[in-house]
Every structure is written in C-alpha cells, then in structure tokens.
Symmetry: C2
Subunit: 131 residues, 2 copies
DNA sequence: CGGGATCCTGCAAGATACTG
DNA sequence: CAGTATCTTGCAGGATCCCG
C-alpha cells in the first residue's frame, strides 16, 4: 500500500448500490447521454445556445434546451441572458461544474485509451457469436 | 501551472464531440445506467448471477443479463460457467475492467462530494421556479 | 436568436412464463 | 440457478410550428 491521498478505487469499496444512494442520484444525470458532452464543450469557455448546438451536431434543440435546464437546476452551469436584439443567451460552467472536469477528464482519458482494446474485444465477440 | 503528469482537464481540450468519436462510442456504454453499477459491484470481487442481482435490487433479470452481455462483449468482464448441478455462472472483471475502476472511482468520489451542493441547487431552483 | 408547445413514434425495459 | 422468449407499454426524444 502506498501513500496516495485516497485511491479512487477505495471509494468504491462497500459502496451501497441501492436506488436511493446519493451517488446514483448524481450519476444518473451525469450519465444522461448529452450532459457530459455539454460540460466538456463548456469546459473550454462559455458558449451561446447556437454555438453549443453547432458543437453538438446530433442533438435536437429540444434535448439541448432540456439538458441545459437540468444542468442549470443541478447548479453545474449558469445561464446569462443578454437583452440584445435579437436576444442572446450565454451558458458557462459554475465552480461546481468546473470541479467536475477533472474526474470527467480522467474517465474520458480512460475511454480514449481503452477504445482500441474494446473495439478488438467486440470484433472477437461478434466473430465467435456468428459461429 | 504545476507539474502534474497530465491534467485530466487537458484531455478535454479540443475534444471533438462528433457522433462517431471514439470517446462517445465508449462512454455511451459506460453511461448506460446499469453498467457502471455492475462494474462497481464486481470491483470487490467476482460474483455469481444471483449475487449480482441481489446487489442491484432494482434491476430486472432481463436487463441484468443484457448489461452483462454488453460488458462481456466490450471485454470489461469475463463469464465463467461451472457445469455444476444446478449450473452456476461467475462474472469477474477483466484487466481492462479493472483499469476502469480508478477513473470511475474518481467520478463517484466527485459525485459523493458534490451531492449536497447539487441537492441545494435543485431546491433553490425549484423554489424560484414555483414563484 | 433562443427558446416553448404540441403531436407523434420507436424502442427501452417491465412483466410473465418457460427451460436445461 | 441462470438464463431465454414473448408480449406489452411508457415515455424519451424527434419533427414541426409558433413566439418575443
């Protein structure tokens, strides 16, 4: 055993996985397909609605709006309306939202590294399947 | 700026968020409601189907089976059948699956810490909403 | 431009019953 | 015990139109 401040894996020990556990309450939102992508996009700086929409090519306006509301409700980002003509609205990460970038980045990094192995595993599985 | 080996946030810079990017390909699975919970449960050691089902109280047999197949296909866990009577099947993390525990733990840790703030943000939002 | 309101559809996922 | 098969349904989410 080493002296790391807190092995991330230790956190998982004895984790209760009941439906009402706080972690699932938070993670269910995080996992929601679009929210992480929005947070990543905003990680580079505030963006307006249209810019965000262009950054996420395959999300509908409806889902983008809804996802932004969810994130705003959870306090991960803030919404600023500029009463210009036509109106413009800017979204930016809150400190809480910024605090999520590190762990999210770790996961994304893992995903990027693991991708080749996963691709290979899928092909092997599907090949065996077809037999 | 400090000397951290690689700021997890740096990974997110310039991330392409197109639908076909590798990260989304992987994360879409990871985010799938049950898969992370299964990985966490198996992080403490191999489990049999029934034990896993008992560890995740609110998943149906159908979804558990399906999620396990997905994870097996992605090479994150392995399935071992013991031809006992009655048959028993054991699931255990593969090295690749184990390698995910660290980043996943980081995210879970964040979720646990952020939970109070998020709860509070939701209440504030809903209160303002009701007005 | 940045949404809200409405309608409509597909598929994710529950319930139930059966099997090796 | 550890699944499969079938049926059924809710609701996530797309398409479309409208508004300030």
């Amino acid at each position: 055993m080493n002296a790391q401040p807190l092995s991330a894996r230790e956190v998982l020990k004895g984790m209760d996985l009941q439906a009402d556990c706080p972690v699932r309450d938070v993670l269910d939102h995080v996992a929601a397909k679009w929210t992480t992508l929005i947070l990543i996009a905003l990680g580079e700086g505030p963006l307006r609605f249209g810019q965000l929409h262009r950054a996420l090519p395959d999300i509908s306006k409806r889902m983008l709006t809804q996802s932004l509301r969810d994130l705003e409700r959870d306090g991960l980002l803030t919404r600023h309306v500029f009463p210009t003509k036509p109106p413009s609205v800017e979204y930016r990460l809150s400190p809480l939202g910024v605090s999520m970038l590190a762990p999210l980045g770790a996961l994304v990094d893992w995903a990027a590294r693991a991708h080749p192995a996963i691709q290979q595993a899928r092909q092997a599985y599907d090949a065996a399947e077809a037999a």
